[in-house]
């Protein structure tokens, strides 16, 4: 028998690089109004760890590195009538290749009851070189419900090209589809990262406002980023921003602030064209 001295050999030395079984975990969370007060209930499913950090706020915490290739992780959220939930994450999501079979998967579904509100804005997702990430967020809004969804995908760490990403964002409002949007990126694919794709940009930001009476319009360009708002076939609009991570973040911050302010004074934003 060979004694193993901790720290003596590099981690993983001598071990065969066999495919590893990915992690499978499904977490769930419900927020409701009980006697006018919010109540959050949830299940942990490591490594998808949920921590309430406010009366109507929860932070997602990665209880392990990754996600890695082969991981299949999901979250099911239900927001009761007139309740609201703010979802954030503790840190950025670093998607890495690992030794698992197939891509890493992260799927979230959120059902929002009448008059409820979802504010979904996790920290950025970084898809590192050679990693593959398949992700979806499906939001079902009942009549009078609303949502603000913010996502930022970064291809690779600083100075790298990044891996493959396929993200689906689907929203229905009162039974009618409002948005079905898929973003396909691959830093190592010359076509997808070329002029017809991400155009050499490392970051792609999305901001969706759904069920909102008023929303920003237009398009623009700042150093390091270009963006455009698209009105949806229903109450809402989606902002896409493409460029450097810092500049895209600034555009998303600015847009989110504009939306938050309009909720207070209602004067900043354009009225939707279809109303």
């Amino acid at each position: 028998m060979t004694a193993v001295v901790p720290g003596h050999a590099p981690i993983g030395a001598g071990r065969p690089a066999a495919p590893r079984d990915g992690l499978r975990a499904a977490a769930a969370l419900t927020v409701e109004r009980v006697d006018g007060r919010p109540r959050i209930r949830w299940t942990h499913a490591w490594p998808v760890v949920l921590r309430p950090t406010g009366a109507e706020q929860v932070h997602l915490v990665h209880g392990a590195g990754g996600p890695l290739g082969g991981d299949v992780l999901s979250l099911d959220v239900r927001i009761g009538a007139s309740a609201s939930l703010t979802v954030r994450s503790a840190g950025a999501t670093m998607v890495q290749p690992g030794r698992g079979e197939g891509p890493a998967r992260w799927d979230a579904t959120v059902a929002v009851g009448a008059g409820g509100h979802l504010d979904w804005a996790p920290e950025p997702t970084v898809v590192t070189d050679r990693a593959e990430f398949l992700t979806s967020l499906r939001v079902t809004l009942d009549a009078g419900a609303s949502a603000l969804v913010r996502e930022l995908v970064v291809l690779g760490r600083h100075g790298r090209t990044g891996g493959a990403y396929r993200g689906h964002l689907a929203v229905t409002l009162d039974g009618r589809p409002l948005l079905a949007h898929t973003t396909v990126l691959d830093g190592a694919d010359p076509a997808l990262s070329g002029p017809a794709g991400s155009g050499g940009a490392r970051a792609i930001g999305t901001l969706l406002t759904a069920g909102a009476d008023r929303y920003p319009v237009g398009a623009g360009e700042w150093p390091g980023v270009r963006w455009t708002w698209t009105a949806l076939e229903g109450p809402g609009a989606v902002l896409l921003a493409v460029g450097d991570p810092g500049a895209v973040t600034a555009v998303l911050d600015d847009a989110a602030l504009m939306i938050a302010r309009s909720g207070q004074d209602g004067t900043d934003l354009a009225a939707p064209a279809h109303s």
Partner: protein, 220 residues
């Protein structure tokens, strides 16, 4: 098991202090810059007017918590130590659960107005998750060299307050305080910076003033 039965295991009711709860302030920065000295100074200055609690982070030990207990800056049970067992920034920025456990235990027991979370000494990129704290202070010292603010990194550029400590050592280590002040101003885009010597100014007055304003803003 049914979804609702599973969820009965974890139910979150709003804190007694109301949805706002206490202000949580993270204190980070490189090893030896004066984070623990700052925590001690803040406790001495604020403990008579505010209910305080402290969480410290060290890799393997409870050194910083023991320092604070030994100096009697707060009752022992208002100080909790987290042993990260790993790079300190992992425990304050990524998997924040151990720190949240410590903070929530202190909140449940003492209902404090202010919780200080001291990071283990780390590098210029170490920042706190805003799931753990509401505001963060980054502590540098002059002896680390006057080029440090210029180097930037999220700790220097994004912290809510940058403290440059040990200004009394500037002539001894050949550091130019004006260079540090101007560089910090440039990279921080209007966020405040304080130059101080906690040894010569143990009341930490400018930092106390900043933190008091934060507590007041949270209560409002």
């Amino acid at each position: 098991m049914h979804r609702d039965d599973l969820m009965a295991a974890h139910t979150h009711a709003p804190l007694a202090a109301g949805p706002a709860g206490p202000l949580r302030v993270g204190i980070g920065g490189p090893v030896g810059g004066g984070k623990t000295a700052l925590v001690a100074a803040l406790c001495r200055a604020l403990r008579d007017e505010l209910s305080l609690a402290v969480v410290t982070n060290d890799i393997y030990t409870e050194e910083d918590a023991e320092f604070l207990r030994r100096h009697g800056v707060l009752p022992d049970d208002r100080i909790r130590a987290v042993r990260t067992g790993c790079c300190p920034h992992t425990a304050i920025r990524d998997d924040i659960t151990a720190n949240l456990d410590a903070v929530e235990a202190l909140e449940a027991r003492h209902n404090p107005d202010l919780v200080l979370v001291e990071s283990g000494g780390d590098n210029l990129t170490a920042t706190f998750s805003y799931g753990l704290v509401h505001a963060q202070i980054f502590v540098l010292d002059v002896a680390g060299g006057d080029k440090v603010p210029r180097k930037g990194g999220p700790g220097v550029t994004r912290s809510d307050l940058l403290v440059i400590n040990k200004i009394d050592l500037a002539p001894l280590v050949g550091a130019d305080l004006e260079v540090m002040r101007v560089d910090a101003e440039k990279v921080r885009e209007g966020r405040p910076t304080v130059l101080v010597s906690l040894r010569e100014q143990p009341d930490a007055a400018p930092i106390v003033e900043w933190i008091t304003a934060q507590v007041r803003a949270r209560r409002a």
